[in-house]
């Protein structure tokens, strides 16, 4: 009986997810999924002065998503086309019989319009949250100092946010991409600041005696988890997004660092060396005691919880080299996903499929499904500590 119910539920869910697709079509579009699991799509022409540039960005976004392969219009089940005029993009995806699978208009600069269109294509055709519209932030040393930068997820549209000639580190983008919390030594101590990206307003929000660092926004953006040492030892704290209502979570003689939130905001995974070497622990966001998560590695730092809640990426030290590993929270399995040059500070994309991390001073984008790896930034000096919107 139970089995029958869950089968029915799955059927309903599938029908539910497919509805937006089918509802567009006079006749059901034939979507050809190729042997390697990708959707074959053609990039047709996009008219208008910035049309060619937009088409190029859309194709790059679809390629990076990992869901698509490309063919000419005859060999593809769908064609991307559109027209751009007066700052507005009319984006379209048509099926074989000329039926519209997606038709929507987008505003903004060419890059913003292209990313938004590409993200709609990905989400409409796969039902999965896309990363094409997402933003990243990171630290880079181009000026000779560690300064804070933002960019689109593909490394384009780079903006330098701080010009302090000081030390800016440990950024965390709010999930909606409107704020950045990060650590600066402007006052000589490590304090946590927030920047409102629209206005540029900066506030020092956590400035207890000692070191305040490692900010991580909660999934709803209302709270920030961080490390605070005012009690005589680095401990995990949760403050509200403006720095108030500080509450201490941990009580150990060790170093707690790098909190990361569960998607529902109820739990936090972090690193602590209370047991000797740094290990991963899990604690309720409202307090209690941390439970150690076995990983089989004896140096585990900088955990990052995937937006779908299923996996945790973290840093390990193996044979003196720092690499990135993934913990499967359901099965408990751990696999190392990088090799060669030291890889650090992994962070999940909004699709829970791609990882960003630094390797050899540059920023790498790794597709966990295809193992395809691409360097997305260069020329900014040494890049570190990436953060990603969700």
């Amino acid at each position: 009986m139970l089995r029958k119910f869950s089968f029915l539920a799955a059927g309903c869910l599938a029908a539910f997810l497919l509805t937006p697709l089918l509802s567009h079509a006079a006749s059901t579009p034939t979507i050809t999924i190729s042997a390697n699991g990708t959707i074959t799509i053609a990039i047709g022409s996009i008219g208008g002065p910035d049309g060619a540039a937009i088409a190029k960005i859309v194709q790059s976004d679809l390629a990076l998503s990992g869901f698509f392969s490309f063919a000419n219009a005859n060999g593809a089940s769908m064609v991307v086309s559109g027209g751009s005029s007066g700052g507005s993009l009319q984006g379209k995806v048509t099926g074989h019989s000329g039926d519209n699978i997606l038709l929507h208009s987008y505003e903004g600069d060419a890059r913003a319009k292209a990313h938004a269109f590409a993200n709609d294509i990905i989400e409409t055709l796969t039902g999965v949250k896309g990363m094409a519209g997402s933003k990243i932030a990171f630290i880079a040393t181009r000026t000779g100092h560690k300064e804070l930068y933002t960019a689109d997820y593909d490394g384009s549209n780079v903006r330098q946010m701080t010009q302090d000639a000081n030390i800016s580190v440990a950024p965390s983008l709010s999930p909606d991409g409107r704020h950045i919390a990060y650590t600066s030594y402007l006052k000589g101590y490590a304090d946590i600041y927030t920047i409102d990206l629209a206005s540029g307003a900066r506030n020092r929000i956590v400035k207890f005696p000692g070191t305040n660092s490692g900010a991580a926004y909660s999934p709803d953006g209302s709270r920030i988890a961080c490390t605070v040492s005012r009690d005589g030892n680095p401990e995990l704290y949760v403050v509200d997004a403006s720095g108030g209502s500080a509450r201490r979570l941990t009580h150990t003689p060790g170093v707690e660092s790098s909190p990361t939130w569960s998607p529902d905001g109820g739990e936090i995974i972090y690193s602590s060396d209370d047991g000797g070497s740094p290990q991963l622990y899990r604690i309720s966001a409202s307090g209690g005691s941390g439970r150690r998560i076995p990983t089989g590695h004896n140096y585990c730092t900088k955990p990052n919880w995937s937006p779908d809640g299923k996996k945790v990426a973290f840093n390990i030290r193996e044979g003196g080299s720092f690499q990135v590993a993934i913990l499967d929270l359901d099965g408990g399995g751990v696999r190392v996903v990088t090799g060669g040059d030291e890889a650090r500070d992994p962070v999940w994309g909004p699709d829970s499929r791609h990882l960003l991390f630094t390797q050899g001073g540059s920023l790498m984008l790794l597709d966990m499904q295809t193992s395809r790896k691409a360097s997305i930034l260069s020329g900014l000096g040494s890049v570190s500590e990436p953060t990603w919107t969700r």
Binding site: T19, S23, R248, H251
Partner: protein, 172 residues
Amino acid sequence: MKTSLQLVTRAALCGVLVLSLDACSLFHKKKQYTGVSDSDMVGGTPLPERQEGLSFMGADVDRSRFSPVHFGFDSVTVEAGETGKLNEVASYLKHSDKQLIIAGFTDERGTAEYNRGLGERRAQAVRSYLLEKGASSEHIQTTSFGAEMPAASGHDEAAWAKNRRAEFGVTK
């Protein structure tokens, strides 16, 4: 333009999400502030309030008066061989009302954020030793720069050993 059916579907999905989110937040609200209060301690001595405008890198701070104390890899233990330097600092503090800032540092290896915590833990380990020797906690602040500002620029054990350290700044 998306069809109305699609919009309805999306709205329905949103409705389900909103309902479940509400249920979650109601549940969490009850628990949210029943955690540990922020004045709770584990036997440590809390740091005093910072003196506004005073910082380790400031021009009014002498950073060369005392020698740095060094640490082993991933260690916060004050080695027996380093205690002579610390005893000197402790006896100075007993007869002075100057402010002391202890800055912790790490070598370049490892995760940047963990290293900031480790550097702070080193500074605090040095502070605990000084408190045990009778120094007043009222005059001591700690800070950590992690792997920033290395004392030696090399990428070998000789440089790393010099960089795993705590330095002292005394107000002039």
